[in-house]
C-alpha cells in the first residue's frame, strides 16, 4: 500500500493505493487515526484500492468511531467497486459516511 495526504483547511484527504489486508491495516491506521485525533475532517479516497479485507474494513470502522468521539467526520470517497462490495457485505453502507 502506498498513500498520499492532501491538506486543505480543516480537511485532510488520504489517498490510499493498492491492497489493504491484515499486513497493511496497521500502516493505514497509522496514517488516518492521527489526523482524526487532531480533530480534522478526514476524507479517505479509495479510488485506487483494488482489494480490501476485514482488516481494512476494521480500519474504516475504527476511524469512523474515533471521528464521532472527536466530533468530526470521516468520509469515504470514490470507493472502488470491489471495496464497495465488501462494505456492503458487512452491511456498513448506512453506518459509514460514503461520499
Amino acid at each position: 500500500m502506498s498513500y498520499k495526504v492532501n491538506e486543505q483547511g480543516n480537511i485532510s484527504t488520504v489517498f490510499l493505493t493498492g491492497e489493504i489486508d491484515m499486513d497493511i491495516a496497521d500502516k493505514a491506521k497509522g496514517v488516518i487515526l492521527p489526523l482524526v485525533e487532531s480533530g480534522k475532517e478526514v476524507h479517505i479516497n479509495l479510488k485506487d484500492v483494488s482489494y480490501m479485507d476485514s482488516s481494512g474494513i476494521s480500519v474504516l470502522i475504527e476511524s469512523h468511531q474515533k471521528a464521532e468521539e472527536k466530533n468530526t467526520k470521516v468520509i469515504i470517497k470514490e470507493i472502488s467497486k470491489s471495496v464497495l462490495k465488501v462494505i456492503m457485505m458487512a452491511k456498513l453502507e448506512q453506518v459509514l459516511n460514503l461520499g
Binding site: 489486508d21 491484515m22 482489494y51 476485514s54 458487512a90
Partner: protein, 136 residues
C-alpha cells in the same frame, strides 16, 4: 474430472498477498465469473488470516500452512491445513453485525461467500483442517 492445486505458505501476515496471488492464478485458469473469483479470493484470504491470528495468535513462526484448491464438477472445495493451536469449531463465531466495532468480520465474510464451512479430522499430521466449499 478433478483438478487440484495446492501450495504451502509460511504462517504470517506477509504471506496473505502471496496466498491471494496463488488463488488468483489458480482461478484465472478456470471459466467461472470474475465476481465469484473475487469472492473466493476474499474467503481464502480471510480463512488464511484466521490461521495467522487465531491458530498462531499472530506469533512469529516458521510453520507452514497448506492451501489446497480442488475443482469438482459442481463445486469448488478449498482446504486449509495448519499445525497451530487446535481450533474448537463451536468457538468460531462472528460478531453480531449490529454491534458495530472493528474486528470479527472475517468469519462472517467466509460464511456469506461459501456454501459450507467445516473443520475436518485430519490424519496426516496437521492439527487443523478447514474445508470451505462453493457450489458452481
Amino acid at each position: 474430472m478433478l483438478i487440484t492445486e495446492s501450495k504451502d505458505f509460511v504462517v504470517n501476515s506477509e504471506s496473505l498477498k502471496d496466498i491471494r496471488s496463488f488463488s488468483r492464478d489458480v482461478f484465472a485458469k478456470r471459466d467461472i465469473p470474475q465476481e465469484l473469483k473475487d469472492d473466493l479470493v476474499l474467503a481464502i484470504a480471510e480463512a488464511a488470516q484466521n490461521i495467522v491470528k487465531h491458530a498462531y495468535n499472530g506469533e512469529k513462526t516458521t510453520d507452514k500452512m497448506k492451501v489446497k484448491i480442488l475443482f469438482k464438477e459442481k463445486e469448488i472445495e478449498i482446504g486449509f491445513f495448519d499445525t497451530g493451536l487446535p481450533v474448537v469449531p463451536e468457538n468460531i463465531t462472528h460478531r453480531n453485525l449490529d454491534d458495530i466495532k472493528p474486528g470479527g468480520l472475517g468469519t462472517y465474510f467466509i460464511k456469506e461467500i461459501m456454501d459450507e464451512v467445516v473443520f475436518k479430522k485430519d490424519k496426516k499430521g496437521w492439527v487443523n483442517h478447514l474445508v470451505i466449499t462453493k457450489k458452481i
